[in-house]
Symmetry: C2
Subunit: 120 residues, 2 copies
Amino acid sequence: MITFRDKTYRCTSEIVLSLVSGKWKIAILNELAKGPIRYNELRRLLPDATQRMLTMQLRMLESDGLISRKVYPVSPPKVEYDLSELGKQLAPMLLVLCDFGTTYIESYPDEVSRTNQKHA
Amino acid sequence: MITFRDKTYRCTSEIVLSLVSGKWKIAILNELAKGPIRYNELRRLLPDATQRMLTMQLRMLESDGLISRKVYPVSPPKVEYDLSELGKQLAPMLLVLCDFGTTYIESYPDEVSRTNQKHA
DNA sequence: CTGTATCCAGATTGATACTG
DNA sequence: CAGTATCAATCTGGATACAG
């Protein structure tokens, strides 16, 4: 048993799941993996996320130390999000998750379909 | 974009998260990794899980094809759970999750504490 | 441009009691 | 032994409007 930030877990993998589980966290991390990005760019890339949800997920990723938020004191406001050092270390793990996901769905080929998605 | 079992995902890693996210799933998978096990043994190993929750999580893992449920037609009833072939392939991925979890909490050493837990 | 505030629906988790 | 049933609490995600 391990206690971390007042919650108990039976395995450190459970902590990791709590870090990346959330409606838009994977999507955000995948976008940030391409480089720093501003809030509204992210909105455009993830048009189905409401402002509220996007902000909430960003705040969680930030307080968990996986991303950084930099405010430029200019007008109009400019805020840039980026992966933290810790966040950058997530990449190999996310790749393993993707890989297993791919392996997994290949076991159920009839239940899968793919669509291209435009980022209008 | 990918559609699988009537839900859409932006990355196969999101599918994997849906497979293993759930109050007791990781704990169950970790126990099953040691070998097949009966329902009540599992209850003893995970005393904080209610019967209802344990059953629900087992059913989900089963319908996702990660574990098998074998009923022995004897009296008293005997039900044994085991990893499926697909479930066995989870092991390396779970290890990567654990590893990142360990790396992660080492970045916040002051917020961590460990306790031994008895399976009374 | 980058957010908050308010209100709400549905899903998830849980306590407790009961059953073939 | 291996579950179900019922009811309730909490948590997550969302629609919409407003603000510095």
